[in-house]
Symmetry: C3
Subunit: 389 residues, 3 copies
């Protein structure tokens, strides 16, 4: 489409975004290899003769970020990284976060690395921040100091209860640790106790390999513990790093768990979903307590983000779709996630308005639902103070 | 695309549509909640703070139907529902059905509710109507009066034989009742007898819960009974209400059944398929007796209907794709299903003609195949009398 | 889009294509039915009242090929076939191959039929050709003359070693013969021996049915034998003929095998993938030794080829995607596969450049990677001599 005819994204008024699923950014300077490693879900360097900069995500970073540091879009990666070092990580983080258009951050604090805290993100961006507690991380921290299974389970129950007082929600990575094809019902207390004993014993035998919780009985115990708090529960689904078997992360594998957990009143938010996001949209359509996002998928598919968002907006009711960046490590990923979402959403809904399929009034209202209002309602965040600015 | 450049759907001449899979509409007035419930496959009210009107289907209804009742497109739902009550359900049904462009209706009569009969649909629309017999409903009606398994099986065989004399085809909802991953071969008579005895016994013990046939042996017996009549057999695949596990409704799960049933000469039509419709297209491409439709998926995805139809038209040969609305309850769903199909098809094929990928002559011919001619050939309906009007 | 605004594919400079996966073409004249049979993966004639010419592939052949034989695009199939017979298969093959824009052919020589050899393809096209050895075919030829399991296994090891000296790579059709859900680890030598004995015994009992290798132990032995040679290994994934169960050909089913084979240093290339190509793109993104192509899917989806290619270019890094035609039998399929790829790629990347999502320089560089450079690097082909022409 010639530039003159493209709908101007500015024509789609949006409130400050609520990024309902993200992580901290690295506090220290990154060399080229470390920067590139954050552009992929792979745990290995790029294949010989290739680079992760040559990807939709790499091109999206090169499109949106150089101008925020005073460079031309699509300048060579080496120029960008030199300019980044010149400005320093603190200044780069400040510039990128304030330019992201994100007004509120819900931060999963369970990832390793020297990362900014939610409070630091809020300060650097001028927005607000809330914590999302990663269940497996809570379990692992509790296990670090527990001497017995009883200790562990009591400590975990205390930890969940305490988190529920301050956090905006919980998150599970059962997808990575086992897969989503776990038994749907809550595990029996005796089975949980046995599994906890076994895990703690393995941990003392082999602290490296057994540090992570992978037992499906314990993973289910975590999910049900969170469900009973009444806080929203985020579930990783779909693609991510090569720890997982993607074909065991289809959100539809959660169907029986979704049914089983419904009486608790717990709200479930299915993250990412790609390439199974249409299935996530279906679940959001037929189960009142299920919501869906397309966070990670937008950033990683770059110029194709609009196609993914469109697929999510097929079956999912518009009151059920949430925005996130899933940014991790690089402040660039906030900018890219937000810009791709805004631009993709504007192109889609402005196109539908142009065809007569949607009214302009509805388009603006639905855009605000996706950008912020659905997340504010689901997480009980209240209306943004910056909403009228 | 600016309006001036949009291909005019009127440029795509189409015969009166044959809707090869639909249901009756509700005879009585509907309040707002009851109307909204027909806009979703969910069995629960919309989540707090949301409405099913905020969905692609809701927006499509608001686009196409208000003008047929003398209102502006996209007027608020409350205005539309008030106008609907003002005109009365009889007049609304008449107006919407006659405006739908559908000339022949193949009606699955196995759904509950106070619904119009095929004859009433024909009268209200000025078209023709034929019956599709839902196998599970036939089995349940037969079981209602059967005293023994022998009674039941004899009655069922009679019912299938009788239906085959008058109906245009059969339909199975084995997807909902069990899943499509059933054993492919016909069940042994002794196994069928045992399963029938067990089901009838459960029915007398617990008439509510056991009323529905869910035993895979009986479901397979129904399928094979229908296959031997030589009539086309519709199979629900893909998304639908939350009774089903969507991941057990992938049409590819039918592959071995498709192979097994091939020698009977039975034609299979895979309904809906979403989000597995590309797999349905593959099956239609490689098995001569397999056809595919994208009925329900077009209505429920609204502004995205063109994307779904395009995906179906990737592998499926053009002689193998059928149109349907799967309309149920609301006459609005006939209008929406038909308009979305016509508009999506016109945009796709006119676009391909503009690119040079298709010739205009082929485009018009293929459009007629999908709109009516394939269904007329498969169900033996003869050429429409209204074809030249 | 009006013709005047369409990006001109000529604006995307491409090197001569490297077709890294194709087959020979039939040497003899084909009647209409035989020609049509090459337009489908079905093993049966088209359903009554339909023709395989009425498909995206059929329309693509009619778009691109008639002008190369002096006819109008989209002329009736009968005219095209008459002209084809008039010119003779030799001249038709020469015209179509030289017009295809393909400079190098990697030819899987394991398909039956009176097909041109790689050398003949090279001669007819003016390009170069290399052999890809199909593992199952190698095993079957070896079994034809082996008297004992020891004979067979020694002969197979020799055959693999010899092939590795001259071939550009290996190919496995384990997808067709068993499915991709095989055990990931190498089979134990004793198990291989037992399986070989069993297969040879069946072969002498029933030479017809048992001629093909389908035992998963033997199929795994073939894969691991090839992996240890260090040559690239092509794996059929996704759709193909109705021998396979498509739902057992999801490339994600290979995840554990991909992990297991990684230490050998073997490069894996996942062919086709449709409709699971997004999963193939994910695997190419997270595993350094995995590559993906969308060969067969482009030709068979015709006017929709751009949509498939776009989906592959979501997660797959641009250094990991390879072009192929998977042409088999008809020289037309080289033309169609190449044209659809070139046009789809040009439309996509020119569109992204127009939106500002990609730079023009990157677009041209990435296009060359996909068209030829990735394949040259992976198969060690060196730079094309015709590159500067």
């Amino acid at each position: 489409m010639p530039a003159a005819e493209r709908p101007d994204p500015a024509e789609l008024p949006l409130p400050p975004l609520v990024d309902h699923h993200c992580h901290g950014v690295v506090r220290s300077e990154l060399d080229s290899a470390a920067f590139e490693a954050f552009l992929t879900e792979s745990d290995a360097p790029a294949a010989l003769g290739t680079t992760f900069f040559d990807s939709q995500l790499g091109f999206a970073v090169r499109r949106w970020c150089p101008p925020l540091l005073g460079l031309e879009p699509h300048c060579p990666p080496a120029h960008y990284l030199a300019r980044r070092r010149e400005l320093g990580v603190r200044e780069v983080t400040r510039r990128l976060l304030t330019a992201s258009g994100i007004g509120a951050f819900l931060v999963d604090t369970g990832l390793p690395g020297d990362l900014t805290t939610p409070r630091e993100l809020a300060t650097a961006s001028g927005g607000t921040a809330h914590e999302i507690v990663r269940l497996e991380h809570l379990a692992e921290r509790t296990a670090d100091t527990a001497l017995t299974a009883d200790d562990f389970l009591t400590g975990l129950a205390d930890g969940v209860r305490e988190a529920a007082r301050t956090a905006a929600g919980f998150k599970s990575v059962a997808a990575y640790r086992y897969g989503l094809d776990f038994a749907p019902e809550p595990p029996a207390p005796a089975a949980v106790h046995t599994a906890a004993e076994r895990w703690l014993a393995h941990r003392s035998d082999d602290p490296g390999a057994a540090a992570r919780v992978t037992d499906p009985v314990l993973l289910r115990h975590l999910l049900w513990s969170a469900a009973h708090t009444g806080l929203p529960l985020q579930l990783h689904t779909g693609f991510g790093d090569p720890d997982l078997r993607l074909d065991r992360c289809d959100p539809l594998a959660l169907t029986d768990f979704i049914r089983a957990v419904r009486p608790t009143g717990c709200t479930l938010i299915l993250l990412h979903g790609y390439p199974y996001h249409r299935g996530a949209g279906y679940l959001a359509a037929v189960f009142p307590h299920v919501y869906a996002d397309v966070g990670l998928a937008l950033a990683h598919t770059g110029a194709r983000a609009g196609a993914i968002l469109a697929e999510m907006l097929e079956l999912a009711p518009f009151g059920k779709v949430l925005f996130s960046t899933d940014a991790y490590g690089l402040p660039e990923l906030y900018v890219v996630g937000a810009r791709l979402f805004q631009e993709a959403l504007a192109a889609l809904v402005n196109g539908w308005v142009a065809e007569g399929a949607w009214s302009r009034r509805d388009a603006h209202r639905v855009a605000a639902l996706l950008a912020a209002d659905n997340a504010r309602r689901v997480y009980g965040l209240g209306v943004a103070s910056g909403r009228d600015t």
